[in-house]
């Protein structure tokens, strides 16, 4: 029996949702291959999360408790994972397909001669025993199927919300502590400060099941207070179109579109967004799309599951009222 590795993406508060989704998927895949699912946790906090990781499918947990994992850019994680690949002899690694983790996968893949497929929304075992991955390209216009070359390690970057997180009721995983002696090279780019801007009680748009987005039609930055009010009521994150971030109404970090973030929530609710192709490239793979816009001809309505043609400043407050009445 060999091991299938899942690199846990986590914040100070615990594992991110995508990590539990990856473990659940790995658990299902391991049933067909007979592998064991081993989670990898880099940085402090593994012990507190062990039970939850076990419940989602991890039977083993490699952990490196040093703050050095994030004290320098990318390479400490690469060196720790090299060690885990050696120890486990795993040939498959699942990682969260988010920016910083992709860098870890890229550098590690060069070192250990692996193939990398990012932004994966489907994984199956092919007849020849190789992984077959599906992903959406060109902003979701085309769905592609890819596989790995024979004999290569397989790194799969998993999109947020591509798979459900499921509890299997298994117990805590076996803990394997790592002792990593970093090279000087790994200490080459030091993190000297961390600036936290995001609200702690609102989910990030990358992992939120619901995303409320605002655009040019908000008119000014105060419109994002209304978006925030709606988002907090239904447990969503808040995103923006490029018109809104370029105008300075909302931080660029939350821009949804071809030059910004790509999201696939179960519900996208856009207000005052016309749905230009550049924006659709970042959100059209959302499972359900709601649009509120005063222009009945706005292209967003062509991909909307539910659309309201009207003034968002009349419709959204009324919607908040109606939702509160139903809760």
């Amino acid at each position: 029996m060999s091991e299938m590795l899942v690199l846990i993406d986590h914040s100070d508060d615990g594992p991110r949702k995508v990590s539990l989704q990856m473990l659940s998927k790995a658990h299902a895949l391991a049933e067909s291959t007979g592998d064991e699912v081993a989670a990898v946790w880099l940085g402090p906090g593994a012990a507190a999360a062990a039970e939850e990781l076990g419940a989602h499918g991890a039977t083993k947990l490699y952990h490196w408790d040093s703050a050095d994992a994030y004290g320098y850019v990318t390479l400490p994680q690469v060196e720790a994972l090299e060690e885990v690949l050696d120890l486990s002899e795993a040939d498959t690694l699942l990682f969260a397909s988010s920016n910083h983790v992709k860098d870890v996968a890229a550098r590690l893949a060069i070192r250990v001669d692996a193939g990398v497929i990012t932004d994966v929304s489907g994984i199956e075992l092919g007849d020849d025993g190789r992984w077959v991955a599906t992903k959406e390209v060109f902003g979701g216009d085309i769905i592609t199927t890819s596989t790995f070359a024979e004999g290569k390690l397989s790194f799969l970057g998993v999109s947020s919300n591509a798979f459900p997180a499921e509890r299997h009721g298994a117990g805590a995983p076996e803990l394997v502590a790592l002792d990593i002696a970093l090279t000087d090279e790994a200490r080459g780019a030091q993190v000297t400060a961390v600036e936290k801007q995001a609200s702690a009680d609102r989910p990030d748009i990358g992992e939120a099941a619901i995303v409320v987005a605002g655009g040019r039609g908000l008119g000014d930055e105060s419109g994002f207070e209304l978006m925030g009010e709606l988002a907090d009521l239904i447990g969503g994150g808040v995103g923006a179109s490029r018109a809104a971030t370029d105008a300075g109404w909302y931080p660029h970090r939350y821009q949804i579109g071809q030059t910004g973030r790509t999201i696939s929530p179960t519900l996208y609710l856009g207000s005052g967004i016309s749905g230009a192709i550049q924006h659709r490239a970042g959100m059209q793979t959302s499972q359900n799309i709601v649009a509120i816009n005063k222009d009945a001809e706005a292209p967003i309505f062509s991909i909307a599951d539910f659309g309201v043609v009207g003034d968002l400043y009349k419709v959204v407050p009324k919607l908040i009222e109606e939702l509160e009445a139903r809760q």
Binding site: V73, T74, S98, N99, H100, K102, D103, A106, R107, A109, R111, A114, G115, V116, T118, D119, V137, D141, I142, I143, T144, T147, F148, A149, G188, A189, Q190, A193, V194, E195, Q197, A198, D204, I234, D246, H252, R253, Q258, T259, T262, L267, Q278, Q284, N288, A296, F301, I303, A304, D305, F306, G307, V308, V309, G310, V315, K318, L319, E322, L323, R326
Partner: protein, 261 residues
């Protein structure tokens, strides 16, 4: 100081995107192609380094002869010269294969800083900047929303979901930039005219000392082998707000019915 900006030719997001059934690569002749919009932020940052530190900036492109207008476009922002790597054997490379070609080209150059866009608008893997840094044995200060050079030190604000990390290393280094970093200016008429006569060097894989079996579809560790257009969406329910609030109530019902609330 010497700066190199690798750029990419991509299909226009607004245009038709076609995958060539034989090569399984983007058919860049099928629709309009453009300089990747994310590269504009890298170019703008390089132009600012020219203005602040008299940096000499070279643009690097891996792609066929028809991609030369993309290099000229990049040069029109006021960059100093271009290098194009072109070779039929490169076709079908995966992101890591492309990184090998870029890294081999960079190894022939003297530079202090390589400035990438953080992703391309077509493939969006984000893998290339970090892979190039790994191949060159350099730090990868990626997703920069702010960049400073002080002597032989580079400091960036490295963006993440919750804010950013302040990170520093010595030069040379590889950085990638996100759109928050600046507001790209438009090329001037003078810049567009001058771009036509800027030096442009064309190199093959042999010039780089790379053999054909190290790159291309045959060497790709991950290969796309099938593709289909996204199935068209069924038309949704569109209601008009008549001022009575009925439309908002209908939407609330729909959200409840779908179990979002």
């Amino acid at each position: 100081m010497k700066v190199i900006v690798p750029v990419k030719r991509v299909p226009d997001t607004a245009g038709e995107k076609v995958i060539d059934p034989d090569t399984r690569t983007v058919d860049r002749d099928a629709g309009e192609t453009v300089l990747c919009p994310v590269n504009e932020f890298a170019i703008e940052e390089a132009v600012r380094l020219k203005e602040r530190l008299e940096a000499e900036v070279t643009v690097l492109l891996v792609g066929p002869e028809e991609a030369q207008p993309t290099i000229r476009k990049a040069l029109s922002y006021g960059l100093d010269g271009g290098i194009q790597i072109t070779d039929d054997a490169i076709v079908g490379s995966d992101a890591l294969g492309t990184a090998r070609v870029i890294a081999a080209a960079l190894e022939q150059e003297e530079f202090d800083l390589v400035v990438f866009g953080n992703q391309s608008t077509d493939a969006r893997t984000c893998l290339v900047p970090a892979a190039v840094a790994e191949l060159l044995g350099l730090p990868s200060l990626t997703y920069a929303r702010h960049l400073e050079i002080d002597g032989d030190q580079v400091t960036v604000h490295r963006e993440h979901d919750e804010g950013w990390d302040v990170v520093s290393s010595t030069l040379p280094a590889v950085v990638s930039v996100v759109e928050a970093i600046n507001e790209p200016r438009y090329p001037s008429f003078k810049g567009i005219m001058a771009a036509k006569s800027k030096p442009l060097e064309v190199r093959s894989l042999a010039d780089l000392g790379v053999t054909a079996d190290e790159v291309g579809a045959g060497a790709a560790a991950a290969t796309m082998y099938a593709h289909e257009p996204r199935p068209p969406k069924e038309a949704g329910t569109i209601v008009e707000d008549d001022g009575s609030g009925a439309a908002a109530a209908q939407l609330a019902d729909w959200l409840v019915e779908k179990k979002f609330v």
